[in-house]
């Protein structure tokens, strides 16, 4: 099984979620993160002092899937999260050795 982590732009979340639902993905976990990369941050002004803020709000999606699904999921996210502008984000793929569903104790592919 593999874990796919996707860093995307927050306003693309609904599009990505809908696209994933269409290909039958029904489990994922998201968190609010801050990203640092090529995309420029912004300047804030407070009482005449300027602060540069490098970190940009992003959403991180985590999905554990069977290896066979990885390519499709990655492709789906890539398409749905795409705007073509800098900062569209990254997708990372890692191996997961075991998955357990707390409610049933099921393991492996059954638990996803």
């Amino acid at each position: 099984m593999q874990k796919i982590e996707a860093i995307i732009k927050p306003f693309k979340l609904d599009a990505v979620k809908d696209a994933l639902r269409e290909i039958g993905i029904s489990g994922m976990t998201l968190s609010e993160v801050k990203g640092y990369g090529r995309q420029k941050g912004h300047t804030e002004i407070y009482r005449g002092a300027e602060y540069n803020v490098d970190f940009i709000p992003k959403i991180k999606l985590e999905l554990v899937v069977n290896n066979s699904q990885t390519d499709l999921v990655v492709e789906t996210i890539t398409k749905a999260a795409y705007t073509g502008k800098i900062g569209d984000g990254k997708i990372f793929v890692m191996t997961v050795y075991e998955v357990i569903r707390v409610r049933t104790g099921e393991k492996g592919a059954d638990a996803i």
């Binding site: 306003f11 609904d14 300047t43 804030e44 002004i45 407070y46």
Partner: protein, 403 residues
């Protein structure tokens, strides 16, 4: 000069002043967190911009010697001649009346900001506020309260249902249509980011409204007492009516509903406050809450994006209030008023409708001209990336919260 009346009017004026920060919070809690500051500022800065206009020429155009029933003269430019001495026929210093009226002028354009929230350029908003105050608010204020054509034909508007609520509601409708829907409307959730802030705003508005309505008696007397009590009753009834309506129709009583209903009730009672009995205020408030609830539902159907429901609450509530005054007003309550339909005088209802109609038509047309002009000249709306990022960062380089 009467020190009791003066004391009352000074404090009432301060209470109306704090309604604008209250409105800022009421609106600010309803937008997404990335737009909270811009929304707050759009109300707050009216306290600055309109105050300056008022001193320079606003009070004069509204309350200077009448010119053809349409506008005031230039006698009071820079508040020359508006001093500490008692007004003719009144019991309070002229400056107190001037300050009291100023606060009304401040909050009216602030009310409109709910329509174009989350997407207007700050520069366009500022110019709009200046132009609209000058070209729409001041004339209508003169018509109704400054010896203009409406004031003289017997219509009743105790505390500004027409001048303030119907007027801002009409302008809001034009604004919402012209500026277009927010990005993501109907797709993403655009729900309030901070409802406790909205409730706090509603509480402050409710408090200030006693200054607004009871203060419109211009004296600490029995009429003020009546206006005070009807205000409280209509606010409570509006809150309960909206809450119950959504409980019935959607299965859940909401806090935003209770707050919105209170404002709807307050709007509805505004023109009637000093002319009707507390018992009538129950009906005005209940109907106000219910009507505004449905008006907001209808908006969701019609599909224009009046973001914070200025039309549904101030427009519809104000119109209902103007007509309700024509129904429930009673000479028994206020000998200086008139009897309404339910007290045997159908004519009042007609006058009320005509006044409201004139205000709506004038406000719609002039607001359209101003907004269209500004759109062509400098553009009303921020560009799409700025809207996604939020107005706080894109217009003001600030963020609301770092918790």
């Amino acid at each position: 000069m009467n020190s009791g009346d003066t004391a009352f009017m000074l404090i009432a004026t301060a209470m109306v002043m704090i309604m604008t920060p209250g409105l800022a919070l009421f609106y600010g809690g309803m937008v997404r967190s990335k737009n909270v500051l811009s929304t707050l500022l759009q109300s707050f800065i009216c306290l600055a911009v309109v105050t300056i206009i008022w001193v320079l020429y606003g009070y004069s155009l509204a309350f200077g010697t009448d010119v053809g029933g349409l506008i005031g003269g230039l006698d009071f430019l820079l508040l020359r001649g508006v001093g500490a001495e008692t007004m003719e026929g009144g019991t309070i210093p002229h400056l107190v009346f001037c300050a009291f009226q100023l606060m009304f002028a401040v909050i009216t354009p602030a009310l409109i900001t709910g329509a174009f929230a989350e997407r207007i350029k700050f520069s366009a908003f500022l110019l709009f506020t200046i132009l609209w105050t000058t070209l729409v608010y001041l004339p209508i204020c003169h018509w109704v309260w400054g010896q203009g054509w409406i004031s003289s034909h017997g219509g009743l508007d105790f505390a500004g249902g027409t001048v303030i609520h119907i007027n801002s509601g009409a302008a809001a409708l034009v604004a919402a249509l012209l500026i277009g829907k927010r990005k993501g409307w109907g797709k993403e959730s655009l729900h309030p980011h901070n409802l406790p802030m909205t409730l706090l705003g509603a509480g402050i508005l409710w408090f200030g409204w006693f200054g607004f309505n009871a203060g419109s008696a211009l004296a600490a007397d029995g009429i003020a007492a009546t206006a005070f009590m009807t205000t409280q009753v209509a606010a409570g009834c509006g809150a309960l009516a909206w809450l119950m309506a959504e409980w019935f129709y959607q299965g859940r009583p909401t806090i935003l509903g209770a707050a919105s209903g209170a404002i709807a009730g307050l709007v509805a009672i505004t023109p009637a406050a000093g002319y009707v009995s507390p018992a009538s205020a129950i009906l005005i408030g209940l109907a106000g809450g219910m009507l505004c609830y449905f008006a907001v539902l209808v908006k969701n159907k019609l599909g224009y994006d009046d973001a914070l429901d200025v039309v549904g609450i101030h427009g519809v509530g104000g119109l209902w209030g103007a007509l309700a005054t024509g129904l429930f007003a009673s000479l028994a309550v206020n000998p200086g008023g008139a009897d309404g339909l339910f007290f045997g005088n159908a004519k009042l209802l007609l006058i009320q409708a005509v006044d409201a109609g004139a205000t709506i038509v004038y406000s719609l047309i002039m607001s359209f001209i101003i907004l269209k002009g500004l759109d062509l000249l400098i553009g009303l709306r921020v560009d799409s990336d700025d809207e996604v990022q939020g107005l706080d960062l894109s217009q003001h380089s600030e963020i609301g919260y770092t918790l």
